[in-house]
């Protein structure tokens, strides 16, 4: 069954063109042109991925993103005409997994969508340990003791990447390549924002992280098993 993609964009020509490109790649597309209706459309169509424009009539993209994130971990890729730092960071903080600055190239769009839809590569069936957490790669589950921690697929991928090589220090570029599928230098803010979101969920004290450790000037690594 082909993946369902909800395109939320108020520009009909662009939405239609995205539809043509995605259909050509074998995706099933649904459209919504109004921010206020976007959340209803999301519940109705239950898409596998949402392409969300930042500037929408009715309700702005960041609010829509929050509504969806509150209910589901469905991958969201933001489409934005602004590459200004504050807008991008706001979008990522509201829960978007990735963003694309208009005008984007169709191959890149498709590549990003595929990265977000592909299941995380299972390194081993064994359960991985990171800090005091247990990551079940096959079961897509993270537990602290008996308590299950809810992560979005992206956050899970990020944690899994770190947990699978506990000795390795990951640069932001390596994480961008492994988790987001970028094969060239991209915006490292993606990594920073998502590490913050991940820490907010898994750390006991996000200001004093024990699971996702910062290696100053280099990147991140997994916290010691304990």
């Amino acid at each position: 069954m082909s993946a369902r993609i909800l395109v939320v964009d108020d520009d009909p020509a662009l939405a239609e063109m995205i539809g043509i490109v995605l259909n050509g790649e074998g995706f099933d597309t649904h459209f919504c042109a109004d921010g206020a209706l976007a959340f209803g459309a999301f519940r109705e169509t239950k898409p596998d991925l949402v392409l969300l424009d930042l500037m929408l009539p009715g309700l702005d993209g960041i609010e829509v993103c929050r509504l969806i994130r509150a209910e589901s971990g469905t991958p969201i890729i933001m489409l934005t005409a602004k590459s200004d730092t504050t807008d991008v960071v706001k979008g990522l903080e509201s829960g978007a997994d990735d963003y694309m600055v208009k005008p984007f190239n169709p191959k890149e769009l498709v590549a990003r969508i595929r990265t977000r839809l592909r299941p995380a590569a299972v390194v081993s069936s064994a359960k991985l340990h990171i800090g005091d957490l247990v990551v079940d790669a096959a079961g897509h589950e993270v537990k602290r003791g008996d308590q299950r921690i809810n992560l979005t697929p992206l956050e899970f991928d990020l944690l899994l990447a770190l947990a699978s090589k506990p000795q390795q220090v990951f640069t932001r570029e390596m994480l961008l390549e492994q988790v987001w599928g970028y094969h060239y230098k991209a915006d490292t803010r993606l990594v920073n924002v998502h590490v913050q979101r991940l820490r907010a969920k898994v750390e006991d004290d996000p200001d004093n992280p024990r699971i996702v450790m910062t290696v100053r000037g280099v990147g991140y690594r997994a916290g010691a098993v304990g």
Binding site: D11, L14, M17, I20, A81, K102, P103, P106, K185, R189
Partner: protein
């Protein structure tokens, strides 16, 4: 604890050597102090002159009137004494002695002086009845000078006087006048009569007058000083307010105004100053508004263009992917559409970046970055382009502390630009990328051995949309904003982007960045004119290029060769 020695030192310094310096500084800086000072000094001089004149003239007058009185009294005494002497018929020594004694008593009574000397004129024939010389001058009998005695001796019937210093029995000295005249004593012959008068009263009066004058002068000067201070204050205060206000205006506080009071010249000054400030403010506001509108317009246009451009781009790509199935002309059309949309997109991105710099809304996201890694990445990404032009890219990095706190995205953009330009203008010859560092700075230079530029070209190389040679074909298809953005990127880091170029010898672009954002650059670890340049010695030291217009070093550098 640390502040203690400093606090102890300060008062010493203030009270000691710096006191005259502080007055000098006050003199230079305070119009009020200066005006009051000049007024007090000048009127003090005038008062002093008047005081001296008054004191001298009163002194003279006092002396003169005392002298007249003294002469009158002495004359009266002498006349009275001569009367007694003339009317006497004393003949023997005792009688003459008594007569002279009574004459002396009379003189004392009429002259109101107790200092009287009766001296026999010398040179007369000796007389047994002539009484001895007598004097009540005591110690100061010597003050009767020989000249006076001679004058008195030679002329009978006339009075002579002399200013002298008298002393009383206690040895106390005081000014006085001695008046001398002749009297003739029956039988005994001619005698000189000297009467001493004290000027103590006159001197006392003079001292009193002088003291009064001095006190009046001091009071007057204080008064003048105070009045001047108040008057100058009335005038200077508005001027100081005006000066402070114009200073604040000059430093950018356009809303300040001088309070307008009254109708006088100060109020006119305030009104015209405020009028000037008003028009200045409105002009600047107009310009700022215009500039803001323009910047927002560029930014808005760039944003608004993005959505349709995305659609066009997607459409172009779809067509481009299917071009093999089109007839040749349509296939080429699809290709052209594809490449030109890409170019348009680059241009739009650069325009937006420049407008962001113009609007001052650029944020540097600095992180510790290894410049060698950054350069390696950039070289890797440019390798296919370099190979297509037959250019060899060489990296020279001697090692050292190559980390710097920079925004890697911006530095990567600079590198991409510089290397791209070097490949495009390098004529297929090698391009050398050098990196070096010192304690405070990291430098990176990109050297090509291509055509190079004249000094006129070098002066414009950072200008927007400027091309070295408009007739030359563009192969890489830059937007014309690359170096302008690179210069902004370098400047926003507090760094330098400089160029050396010489026709026929190629160009060298050097980027120097402070290791930490707070550091100030003083020198670059790499030379700007490369070591292989043919005229090293002629070159002036490189200066930072901070403005896009004319980097000073670059113009001179080009000129040195020509």
């Amino acid at each position: 604890m640390n502040a203690q020695p400093a606090a102890a030192r300060t008062p010493v310094a203030l009270g000691g050597r710096t006191w005259p310096r502080r007055v000098a500084a006050l003199w230079r800086s305070s119009l009020q102090f200066r005006t009051v000072g000049i007024t007090v000094v000048l009127s003090g001089l005038a008062i002093l002159l008047v005081g001296v004149y008054m004191s001298v003239s009163i002194g003279n007058d006092l002396f003169q009137s005392r002298l007249n009185q003294v002469l009158l009294e002495s004359n009266r005494a002498t006349t009275a004494a001569q009367g007694i002497l003339d009317s006497s018929d004393a003949a023997d020594r005792v009688q003459v002695q008594a007569l002279l004694g009574s004459a002396r008593t009379l003189i004392t009574a009429t002259s109101s002086s107790r200092q009287i000397a009766v001296l026999r004129v010398p040179g007369q024939e000796g007389s047994s009845v002539a009484p001895q010389d007598s004097s009540t001058f005591g110690e100061s009998t010597d003050v009767i000078s020989p000249e006076l005695r001679e004058a008195v001796r030679d002329s009978s019937g006339e009075q002579f006087w002399q200013s002298v210093t008298l002393s009383n029995d206690d040895g106390q000295e005081y000014p006085g006048i001695v008046v001398g005249s002749q009297i003739s004593v029956p039988v005994a012959g001619r005698y000189e009569l000297y009467i001493g008068y004290s000027l103590q009263d006159a001197e006392g009066t003079l001292l009193f007058v002088q003291r009064t004058l001095g006190i009046a002068a001091a009071a007057l000067m204080l008064l003048i000083g105070a009045v001047t201070w108040i008057v100058v204050r009335f005038v200077v205060t508005p001027i100081r307010v005006a000066a402070e206000t114009s200073q604040r205006l000059a430093s950018g506080d356009l809303a300040v105004r001088i309070p307008e009071k009254g109708e006088d010249v100060i109020a006119t000054l305030a009104r015209s100053f405020n009028g000037m400030a008003d028009s200045l403010q409105s002009q600047i506001k107009k310009l700022a508004d215009l500039s803001e509108v323009q910047q927002r317009f560029v930014s808005d246009v760039s944003h608004e263009l993005r959505t349709p451009l995305t659609t066009i781009r997607l459409a172009g790509s779809v067509l481009y992917d299917q071009r093999a199935s089109f007839p040749p002309a349509t296939e080429r059309t699809a290709e052209l559409l594809h490449t030109q949309v890409e170019r348009f997109e680059l241009l739009l991105g650069d325009l937006l970046e420049i407008s962001r710099y113009d609007a001052g809304s650029v944020q540097v996201e600095a992180e510790p970055t290894n410049l060698v890694h950054l350069a390696e990445d950039s070289i890797d990404s440019m390798r296919s382009l370099a190979e297509s032009k037959g250019t060899e890219l060489r990296l020279v990095a001697p090692g050292g502390h190559l980390n710097a706190e920079v925004d890697p995205r911006r530095i990567r953009r600079i590198l991409h630009n510089l290397i791209g330009n070097a490949i495009e203008h390098g004529e297929g010859k090698p391009v050398i990328i050098s990196i070096d560092s010192n304690a405070t700075a990291v430098a990176l230079s990109v050297r090509d051995f291509g055509l190079g530029m004249t000094d006129a070209d070098v002066a414009h190389v950072f200008d927007r949309f400027w091309r070295a040679d408009p007739s030359r074909q563009r192969t890489i298809g830059g937007t014309g904003l690359g170096l302008a953005i690179s210069l902004e990127d370098a400047t926003v880091h507090g760094g330098w982007l400089q160029v050396w170029s010489s026709p026929g010898e190629g160009s060298n672009f050097r980027l120097t960045l402070p290791r930490r954002a707070s550091d100030m650059l003083t020198e670059s670890p790499l030379p700007l004119p490369p070591d292989d340049a043919s005229f090293d010695d002629l070159l002036p030291p490189a200066l930072p290029a901070t403005l896009p217009a004319v980097p000073p070093s670059s113009t001179t550098l080009g000129g040195a060769h020509v």
